[in-house]
């Protein structure tokens, strides 16, 4: 695989994992009854 392709994979993976962890964080905070905004800060 070309070096450029590998970096593309890294960037795509970073974006996917960031979205995953953001959604898990938000879901877990809300599940505990903690009102949070899009930035996960207290409402």
């Amino acid at each position: 695989m070309l070096a450029g392709g590998r970096w593309l994979a890294v960037i795509a993976a970073l974006a996917v994992w960031a979205a995953y962890f953001y959604s898990v964080d938000a879901a877990l905070m809300k599940a505990q009854g903690l009102p949070v905004g899009w930035d996960l800060m207290p409402k």
Binding site: M1, V10, A13, F21, D25, M29, Q32
Partner: protein, 593 residues
Amino acid sequence: MSARRLIALGALAGAAALLFAPDLAAAAGDAVGHGAPAPQPTAADYPRIGSLSGRTVVWVFAQMHLFLAAFVLAVPIFVICIELAGVLTRDPRYDQMAHEFMKISMAAYSFTALSGGGLMLGLILFYPMVMGYMTRVFQGQTMIYALLFLMESALLYIYYYSWNALRYGNRKWYHMSIGLILNTVGLTLMFIANAWATFMMSPAGVDPAGALTGSVWAATRNPLWNPLNLHRFLANIAYGGAIVGAYAAYRFLSATTAEERAHYDWMGYTSNIIAVAGFLPLPFAGYWLMAEIYAYSQQMGITAMGGVLAWLFIIQAVLIGTILLAANYYLWCGLGRTDEGMRFGRWVKYIAVVILGGFLVWVTPHSLILTPAEVQQLGGTHHKILGPLGIMPAKNIAVNLMLVFTFLSFQLFYRSSRTPSVSWAPIGNAVIVALYGVGCLNIVGAGIYGYVTPTVYKVGASVPQVATTLSIIVFSAIIDGFMLRGAKTSKVHWGRMGQRSQYALFVLPVAFTWLMALMGYIRSSLRTHWHIYTIMKDASPESFIPTIGEAGNIITMITLLFMALIVFIFWLSRLGSTSQPAPAATRSVEAEA
């Protein structure tokens, strides 16, 4: 239906029936009816034997029994897994190792029963009214416990002694079925004992005066029961793995042939994996237990983590840090077992920095014991740099990163003998690197979040941190699993380990034992001056939390005592496999015959 399936079904049905044993006991309790209030003893109700401290006698027996019981209950759990691995892989080495693990456990079993008997005698002798009340609350359950104990003994002996008789084919499945029932009985025993211990901390099913209002099941299923069940289940596995690892190290160091050294190196490696696998989720189970303690009684929670006992959590951090450092060191040494392993060696220093850094943050106290002059010099009770590192958000970051990087050490070791051959391996590696990167950032971010939000959010943010650590472990293991299918494997030179690595395996059980004794003291002290929290007061002359110094001495003495016992058990196990060479005269008679 084949005989094998019938056996498996029978074993499962038996196991299910046994799991409902507390329910059966509850039914027995209901038949007797509701009890009278709890007795309120006076100082005269505690028998005295000279100047002997009843509390210390019970403490020593209880702790010794707990160590031994944890070990003998844990070993059959992972032994049956190793036995199954032997059947699935058709590799006889697994079976041999599983059998050897059981041999060590057998040597410890009689001591477990002895220490249990000693504990029971001590309790009846020094705390008759407490025991009378507990028996009245749990009624028939105590009989079920005794019955299960008998079953455990019988099954353990059958399981061990039938090993060679039921070794191959369908008979092996018979043997594993016996192991399954043995484990179910063992776990049920532990769950019942846990119910009694947690009832004393968070009584349920009784009114404020202590009279039974619900069923025995209500008293059993008290608020702290399940958190303790999970915590002890995981801790037992980690502890059992650590002890058999020390045995493997002992045999490795005393091995005289390369073959023997290779076998015990492999055994030590497997034991370390078991210990780490049990240990990685353990802090989360401990966190759940502590959260439930706070939820049940905020005062009890503050006694644990906000009062004098809080200092002991610093010692806990030292011991857990020691365990993680030792386990990682052993894994790093293991990279030398393969010719390709050292290519990962350059990453070790970075992992070491993270684990050591996490260790230092974890052991940082929030408040210091200072003289008035020192407070004046410092300008307050909290050091401006150390203060922020002493609170939970910093410690949560530290512990989660330590666990993630311990898993990374394991992953590197696993990779050291495998080179992926799938075409998408570079993408797979990129995905794993990104997972670690984003995950670690999320752990650090959630910790920083705790500094800028109110306390309830700070506590709440620890849950996403746990989820992140578990996500990293689970997802990277899954990706690795797919990526290493059909991988090119290189030879693992079992036995090619330095002697120093084996001492890391000795460190693990010592640190675990000390840690368990320390946390046992904390858990028991949370009841303060109550036998049964808020129900039955302790009116004995020893109704106070022992000072940290006194507790430290007793905990250390118990640890040394247990270690001496373990050395004796190892020696016994080795003695059992040692044969004296026949004298020349006997050999010639045998040759003639």
